[in-house]
Amino acid sequence: MPTGAMKAFIRKETERILAACTRCGKCYEACPMTRYSPALEGAEPQTVVADVLALLREERSSPQAVGWASVCVRSGSCVPACPENVDPKMMVRIARMMASGGLGGEKRIPARHDRDYYDRIRAFGKLQLTEEERKEWM
């Protein structure tokens, strides 16, 4: 398996979403999280979706597009709301990856730098599993 396939898949998904989305805004209307972003106060659903698509095209990253991507917690309420089966959860997830700088470009969503993340998991593992279990399972 050659490396880089996941990035290639994300690029392909981005193209699919850009081609399929009609900017109707139904996904945004169904989202339970928009009220938590000050940038989205009074926002027009169609405008926010258009801005997310512009982010996916790497044209611009508006505060509204970044605001929506920042508060998405993958509730998935947008998925059945979409009349075109675009999978808006995937759309906003990729937007978040881009706004986080995951595919290069400017970081508009700050990364949660937790230098102890994996060491913390290993440390809890030391407290919870035997040495033999860690050797065989981890």
């Binding site: 398996m1 490396t3 880089g4 396939a5 996941m6 990035k7 290639a8 898949f9 994300i10 339970p32 999280m33 938590y36 920042s70 508060v71 998405c72 917690v73 993958r74 509730s75 998935g76 309420s77 998925v79 059945p80 995937m90 997830r93 978040r96 990856m97 986080s100 700088g101 995951g102 595919l103 970081k107 969503i109 990364a111 949660r112 102890d116 993340y117 994996y118 060491d119 913390r120 998991i121 290993r122 440390a123 809890f124 593992g125 030391k126 407290l127 919870q128 599993l129 279990e133 860690r134 065989e136 399972w137 981890m138």
Partner: protein
């Protein structure tokens, strides 16, 4: 011949050895040959949105390791791992295995499972639900059904589901986390429930803070299955949360030395003393 599966428990559930051990015992009681795999070397990489080069490499490595194990099914415990494998890893790198979710496996085997659930667990519980992930696996319905197999357990009918698919991402939207905690406590009181029960370990990590700070008992559904079966693994994580700043005394010097006192205090203790967002502090004793 027993079905051979890989039990992919994930990373962060390593805080809860009791859950991992109980899941393994249950799978084996159901006649499934479960080979555990997890921890950072099997990480799905879902938390690496800001570094997709790393996420890509982790996806390739983990799919390759599961392929090399040569088992037909991977049974995931963690909803993040399951989702990331379904939505990204498995789309990019060819898995030579079928992916299932642990709740689905128990639900498939619920008839056999019910035969092991012999000890009554008299408890009226509120299931802590989320909106997400249910399009992949109907966990809200299926965990309710599993809990109702346990003699003595009464699951209250309640329609509240918090945003998100588990509590992890709610931590990035503190206001939403506050509201979730308050609403959960309100519903516990409304239904006169004895306890809140979570589906996922990560929610349990947050919700058992309610037992430590809001006098509301908390369990993961596997804890109640294990109690009814008669498995007696100790839930140390909850004890540590309840002990808060005194958790080190429960862990003991010898085990603490394994992880390092300085590391424990810097990287582990903060989550053990963390107060759930949105929970009122006890009435002031006059000190500021």
């Amino acid at each position: 011949m027993a079905e051979r599966v890989t039990f992919w428990y994930g990373c962060n559930v390593l805080r809860h050895g009791d859950i991992i051990h109980s899941c393994l015992d249950i799978l084996r009681m159901l006649g499934i040959d479960a080979r555990p795999a997890g921890g950072p070397d099997y990480c799905c990489g879902t938390s690496k949105d800001e570094n997709l080069t790393a996420a890509d490499g982790m996806a390739r490595r983990t799919v390759g390791k599961f392929n090399a194990l040569g088992r037909e099914r991977v049974v995931a415990w963690c909803p993040s791992c399951h989702s990331h494998m379904t939505e990204f890893m498995g789309q990019a790198y060819k898995p030579d295995f079928e992916l299932n979710y642990f709740v689905d496996v128990l639900h498939e085997h619920r008839s056999a499972l019910s035969g092991f659930l012999r000890k009554p667990v008299p408890m009226r519980v509120l299931l802590h639900k989320h909106m997400g992930f249910n399009d992949r696996v109907a966990v809200n319905d299926k965990v309710t059904a599993l809990l109702r197999l346990i003699p003595g357990v009464e699951v209250v009918d309640d329609d509240y589901a918090a945003p998100g698919y588990m509590c992890a991402l709610l931590n990035t939207v503190p206001k939403a986390m506050e509201e979730m905690n308050r609403e959960t406590l309100r519903r516990v009181a409304l239904h006169r429930a004895d306890a809140v029960v979570t589906t996922f370990h990560q929610c349990y990590r947050e919700i058992c803070g309610l037992e430590a700070h809001a006098n509301t008992r908390a369990y993961n559904y596997v804890h109640l299955l294990a109690q009814s079966i008669g498995l007696d693994y100790v839930d140390e994580y909850k004890a540590w949360k309840k002990a808060g700043p005194d958790a080190a005394q429960l862990i003991g010097e010898q085990r603490l030395a394994q992880v390092g006192v300085e590391f424990f205090e810097r990287a582990m203790l903060p989550e053990l003393v963390k107060r759930p967002l949105g929970i009122d502090r006890p009435k002031s004793d006059g000190k500021s």
